[in-house]
């Protein structure tokens, strides 16, 4: 009962218009009061969650994005993308989904994807007529490709918690990830002319113009190449790559395009910090909420109750789907993956579901959980980076989840070969 009341409180605070961060903090205060949480460790746990090497990718990719804008790299990159896909229906939105897919192969988290892609793509999409709320929702959902496409820190945690091969779990979520990409692109295309009016651009038309745009973009393209090459060439890890993205954007902006001045660099850095800070505070309190709930065993007990409700395999699978989505609406993706999912494992085994298959089910449900309000840190992050109003993103996000993410999750759940085909073909299971 108490969790529902606190959920209600959170919704009220958000609806009043209290900043999301302080609304979450208000929910923490209520949880502290209800569960008499130990204040000696309350903020210490929050501190530990921010004191993380993996999280460094967030401020660095945001900074890199701002520097790419002020250094003229973003404009050239986006100009090229516009030329390549701008004349196709839904081209810019689909380009964002593809960029998130490519970035998924680089980063192991959704947050880094939001930071890197959001800073580059949402403004140009707004210029093309995409509402910011819509773009933020598309970013929020496609950023979860960071988890579905390996490497994925969430999948490693799941594999370890359930004692499965990491490689098999990695492989299991690739096809669902590709299905999500395709689904989002079809959805995006379908929205053009209905909810979105794409604006024409004076994009290059003659071959001479096209050639010029391409040549200008070449130095800008060296940046993603440095990052991808550096990671797959074994030079640096995804987090360290973010630092090189910052370095490269300064160097290319200052030395190649010469758009970067010291003043611009300073202003971008400060603006990036404000964006980072407002996101990190949201993460901090959403993280603490999850910790208190798990420590009080709320989601664990619910999982136990759910385990006793039905026995029919199809009902079990549906129930697990519903429960994972519901849990995702309350707590963060890592808690869902590490705490809740293993508890449901015996139930899945009763329904004859392979654990590697279950890994993919969990991953596809996290896509929905991380974007479903009220606890939707990824969606909120996308809103802040895209300067979109949160309430304008909720509608499109719900539609994308209903028409794309949910079908992908159901397909992954009820057609085992969607997830198991690849691990079997690779000889991982």
């Amino acid at each position: 009962m108490e969790p529902l009341l606190i959920l209600g409180l959170l919704l009220v605070l958000l609806a009043i218009g209290l900043p999301v961060a302080w609304s979450f903090a208000g929910a923490v205060a209520a949880l502290v009061w209800v569960y008499d949480a130990n204040l000696n460790t309350l903020m210490l746990q929050g501190f530990r969650s921010l004191n993380s090497v993996i999280l460094l990718a967030l401020p660095l990719f945001i900074l890199a994005g701002y520097l790419m804008q002020s250094g003229g790299i973003a404009a050239r990159l986006v100009g090229f993308v516009e030329m390549a896909v701008g004349r196709r229906r839904g081209g810019m939105g689909n380009a964002m989904v593809c960029a998130a897919g490519v970035f998924g192969a680089i980063s192991g988290t959704a947050t880094a994807s939001v930071a890197a892609i959001g800073t580059l793509m949402i403004d140009p999409m707004a210029e093309k007529g995409y509402p910011r709320g819509y773009s933020a929702a598309l970013l929020g959902i496609s950023s979860l490709l960071g988890i579905l496409i390996p490497p994925s820190i969430t999948m490693i945690l799941f594999a370890v918690a359930t004692q499965q091969s990491v490689a098999a779990c990695f492989a299991a979520s690739i096809v669902p990830g590709i299905l999500l990409m395709i689904g989002l692109m079809i959805f995006n295309r379908s929205q053009i002319g209905r909810r979105i009016t794409e604006l024409g651009t004076d994009a290059a038309t003659t071959s001479a113009q096209r050639w010029r745009v391409t040549v200008r973009a070449l130095p800008a393209f060296s940046l993603p190449l440095i990052i991808i090459g550096g990671i797959y060439g074994g030079v640096f890890t995804p987090t360290e790559a973010a630092a090189f993205a910052v370095l490269a954007s300064v160097l290319i902006g200052a030395l190649v395009y010469r758009d970067m001045s010291f003043r611009r660099m300073r202003d971008s850095t400060i603006a990036a910090a404000e964006t980072t800070g407002s996101i990190v505070i949201i993460l901090l309190f959403s993280f603490i909420i999850g910790r208190i709930l798990v420590s009080e065993r709320i989601p664990q007990d619910l999982a136990q109750i759910v385990s006793t409700l039905v026995t029919n395999p199809i009902c079990i699978m549906l129930l697990v789907n519903v429960f994972l989505v519901f849990a995702g609406a309350l707590i963060d993706d890592v808690s869902v993956t590490v705490v809740i999912a293993p508890l449901l494992l015996p139930l899945m085994q009763m329904a004859d579901v392979n654990t590697v298959h279950f890994a993919a089910i969990v991953a596809t449900s996290v896509v929905i959980g991380a974007n479903s309000p009220p606890m939707a840190p990824v969606l909120f992050m996308a809103c802040r980076i895209g300067r979109a109003s949160a309430h304008q993103a909720v509608g499109p996000a719900l539609r994308m989840m209903l028409f794309v993410a949910l079908p992908v999750m159901l397909l992954t759940t009820f057609v085992p070969s969607v997830s198991l085909m690849l691990p079997r073909w690779l000889g991982l299971m």
Binding site: A15, L60, I270, I282, R384
Partner: protein, 181 residues
């Protein structure tokens, strides 16, 4: 001078003082952000270059980078509080029409923010106090852990101060709106 004029003059001095203080504080924040952004980046680049090029394991770079990042996160959050840059679901605010209703709404939001920021400050204080009882250090750097925790106090206290500022502003525009109507 009349009593009202004296009050007004005092108010003017106070606002002038606060404005100067705000300017200095913001400058300091900007400097902090630039320095910490630089450290976060350079520490990681140094780590990679030393590892990949020189095969030299330079110690403590992750720790240094995270320490700077915590200050960066919180300085950014303070700036967001100052510029009202925190993410908001502005459905309600956007639907209010009269200036009186808008001011009242701002007052409520600022008051709630102040209350919650007080809780935040309490939790941070508890973390620091417990850290005094059971001191820790950052491994490898051998720096006391509170150096990394202090920015949380900065964020909490600033959130309180700016919420107070927003309350005063909202109250002022509320009285103005009342006079007008």
């Amino acid at each position: 001078m009349t009593a009202a004029a004296v009050t007004q003059a005092r108010g003017g001095i106070l606002i002038g003082f606060l404005t100067i203080f705000d300017r200095i504080f913001t400058r300091a924040l900007h400097a902090l952000i630039l320095a910490t952004s630089l450290i976060v980046t350079v520490a990681l680049v140094t780590l990679v270059v030393c590892r990949y090029v020189f095969n030299y394991p330079v110690a403590g770079m992750h720790e240094l980078s995270m320490l700077a990042a915590l200050w960066l996160y919180m300085a950014g959050a303070v700036l967001a509080s100052r510029n009202n840059g925190h993410l908001v679901v502005d459905f309600l605010a956007g639907s209010l029409r009269s200036s009186r209703a808008k001011a009242l709404h701002q007052l409520v939001v600022a008051a709630l923010t102040l209350i919650i920021a007080c809780f935040f400050a309490l939790w941070v204080w508890k973390m620091l106090a417990w850290g005094m009882k059971r001191p820790q250090s950052i491994p490898l750097l051998q720096i006391p852990l509170w150096v990394a925790q202090l920015p949380f106090a900065l964020a909490a206290l600033s959130a309180m101060a700016y919420a107070l500022r927003d309350m005063v502003r909202a109250a002022l525009s509320l009285t103005r709106a009342s006079k007008e109507s």
